[in-house]
C-alpha cells in the first residue's frame, strides 16, 4: 500500500480475459485511445475510455531506470483511469519484444490486397487494416 502513496507514481494494471498480465507502479502511462494517444500520470481526472489498436507505453517503472519504457501492443478494449490507477482491459496484450515484425507486415500486405464489398465488410476491413498497421508500427519501432 505504501507504494501507491509514493508521490508521482501511478499503478498500472493490464487485464486480459485469461489473466492479469501486468500489475506495476510507473511514472506515467501512454494509452492508445480510439482517436489518438493520451498520456496519464498520477492524479489524472478519472475517465473510462475506449482503446483502439496500438501500443501502451509504461514509463519509469518501479525497479527500472527512470526513463525505461515498457511497450505492449493492445488491440481494442477499455481503459479505466482512477486517481492513482490505470486499468487497461483488453482482449489481447502482447509485449512489444514478442511481436514478429515480418509476420505483421505480411499480414498487412495480405489485408491491403484483399477486397471487401458492402458497408459492414468495408468497415471490418478498415478496422483490421488499422489494427495491422498499428501492429507493424509497434513491432518495428524497436525498444
Amino acid at each position: 500500500m505504501a507504494d501507491t502513496k509514493q508521490s508521482g507514481t501511478v499503478r498500472c494494471v493490464i487485464v486480459t480475459p485469461e489473466q492479469t498480465s501486468l500489475d506495476t507502479q510507473a511514472r506515467s502511462v501512454t494509452l492508445p485511445l480510439f482517436d489518438g494517444q493520451r498520456g496519464v500520470g498520477r492524479g489524472h481526472s478519472p475517465f473510462i475510455g475506449r482503446l483502439g489498436a496500438g501500443e501502451v507505453r509504461i514509463v519509469g517503472e518501479q525497479g527500472a531506470a527512470s526513463d525505461a519504457v515498457r511497450r505492449l501492443f493492445v488491440e481494442g478494449g477499455f481503459v479505466e483511469v482512477g486517481h492513482d490507477t490505470v486499468t487497461v482491459i483488453t482482449q489481447r496484450a502482447i509485449p512489444a519484444e514478442k511481436l514478429d515484425a515480418p509476420a505483421a507486415r505480411a499480414e498487412l500486405e495480405k489485408l491491403a490486397g484483399s477486397r471487401a464489398a458492402g458497408d459492414e465488410a468495408i468497415d471490418a476491413r478498415l478496422k483490421a487494416e488499422q489494427a495491422a498497421r498499428a501492429l507493424v508500427r509497434t513491432a518495428t519501432r524497436g525498444g
Binding site: L33, I48, G82, Q91
Partner: protein, 293 residues
C-alpha cells in the same frame, strides 16, 4: 491348483489397474489445480467489465443494445461443452442428458436449433441420438485459450446480429466448488441486463464521477460483446475445471474399489491355496496309511 492360479492372475491385473487409476487421479489433481488457477486468474477481467458497466448504469445512460433485447425465439443455437475423454464419472453423460432434454423441448415448440458441440464424447453421444451437429470442436482440452474461444463467440454474435439465431444456450458443467459441479443450461444471448446488481451501490459509485470517451453509449456498444465473450470463455473454463474434478473423483473411487477387490481376491486366493494344501496332505496321509497295511 488351477483355481488358485487364476485368482492370483486376476489379483495381479487388478493391481495393475489400480496403479493406472491412481496415476490418473494424480494427473487429474495436478491438471485441476492448473485449470483452477486459470479460472481464478480470468475472474479479474469480468470483474473490471462489470465495474465499468455499473459505472455506465450509475450515470444514468440508457442501457439499450440489440444484444440485450429479448425477442421471440424463432431460431435458436445450442452449444454443448463436454470432454474429449471419458473415465470421468457422469461428467459427459450429465451434460448430454441436459442437452438432449433441451433439444427435445425446442423440438416440441417447433423451433429449429443450430447445435454445436465441443468434445469428442459429446459429439459421438449426440450423433448417436440422431442430432445434426453444425459445428464440432475437439481442440479444447484442460486449458482452453481465449484466442480459440473468441472466434466461436464472434460467429455467434454475428449470427445473432444478422438474425439467423435469436437465442444462444450453452449446456456445460458449472463449477460451484470442488464438491459440487452441476450440468446446467445457461442462456448467453440475449445477454442478461448488466445492471441487475446495482441499485443500492449506485449512490456510492456516483462519487467516482468518471468521464467517458467518446461516450457512455459508445463504450456500452463495445463492452457488451466483450462481456459476452468473457462469459462464453468462462463457460469453457468452468467445463475444463469440472472435467478434471469429475475425473479426480471417479479415479479416486476406482482406486478405492480396486483396493477392496484386491483384498477380497487375496482372501479367496489364500483360502483356495490352503484348501489345496490340506487336500494334498490328506492324500499323502491316505497313501501312507495304505502302505502301512
Amino acid at each position: 491348483m488351477a483355481k488358485a492360479r487364476a485368482l492370483d492372475r486376476r489379483r495381479k491385473s487388478v493391481r495393475n489397474i489400480r496403479k493406472i487409476t491412481r496415476t490418473m487421479e494424480l494427473i487429474a489433481t495436478a491438471r485441476f489445480k492448473k485449470a483452477m488457477d486459470r479460472s481464478v486468474a480470468a475472474r479479474d477481467y469480468t470483474k473490471h467489465l462489470v465495474k465499468i458497466l455499473e459505472n455506465i448504469a450509475s450515470v444514468g445512460a440508457e442501457v439499450v443494445h440489440p444484444l440485450l433485447e429479448i425477442r421471440p425465439t424463432h431460431k435458436t443455437a445450442v452449444l454443448v461443452l463436454t470432454g474429449n475423454r471419458g473415465l470421468c464419472g457422469g461428467y459427459n453423460s450429465n451434460v448430454v442428458r441436459q442437452a438432449v432434454a433441451l433439444l427435445g423441448q425446442w423440438k416440441s415448440e417447433q423451433v429449429p436449433a443450430h447445435v454445436s458441440a465441443s468434445g469428442k464424447r459429446g459429439i459421438s453421444a449426440l450423433r448417436f441420438r440422431g442430432v445434426d451437429l453444425a459445428e464440432k470442436y475437439t481442440s479444447f482440452e484442460d486449458k482452453p485459450e481465449f484466442a480459440a474461444v473468441a472466434p466461436i463467440g464472434k460467429a455467434y454474435l454475428e449470427a445473432y446480429a444478422a438474425g439467423t439465431i435469436d437465442r444462444l444456450d450453452v449446456v456445460y458443467t458449472k463449477f460451484h466448488s470442488i464438491a459440487k459441479q452441476v450440468a446446467i443450461t445457461e442462456t448467453l444471448l440475449p445477454l442478461a441486463p448488466p445492471n441487475a446488481s446495482v441499485g443500492g451501490q449506485a449512490s456510492q459509485r456516483a462519487s467516482d464521477e468518471y468521464d467517458f470517451y467518446p461516450s457512455a453509449e459508445s463504450i456500452l456498444e463495445e463492452i457488451l460483446p466483450a462481456s459476452f465473450l468473457s462469459r462464453l470463455f468462462k463457460c469453457f473454463l468452468d467445463a475444463a475445471v469440472s472435467e478434471q474434478v469429475a475425473r479426480m473423483v471417479a479415479m479416486k473411487a476406482a482406486t478405492e474399489n480396486a483396493g477392496g477387490l484386491i483384498k477380497s481376491l487375496s482372501r479367496q486366493y489364500n483360502r483356495a491355496r490352503q484348501s489345496q494344501i490340506t487336500g494334498e496332505i490328506m492324500e499323502i496321509l491316505g497313501g501312507v496309511e495304505a502302505l502301512k497295511k
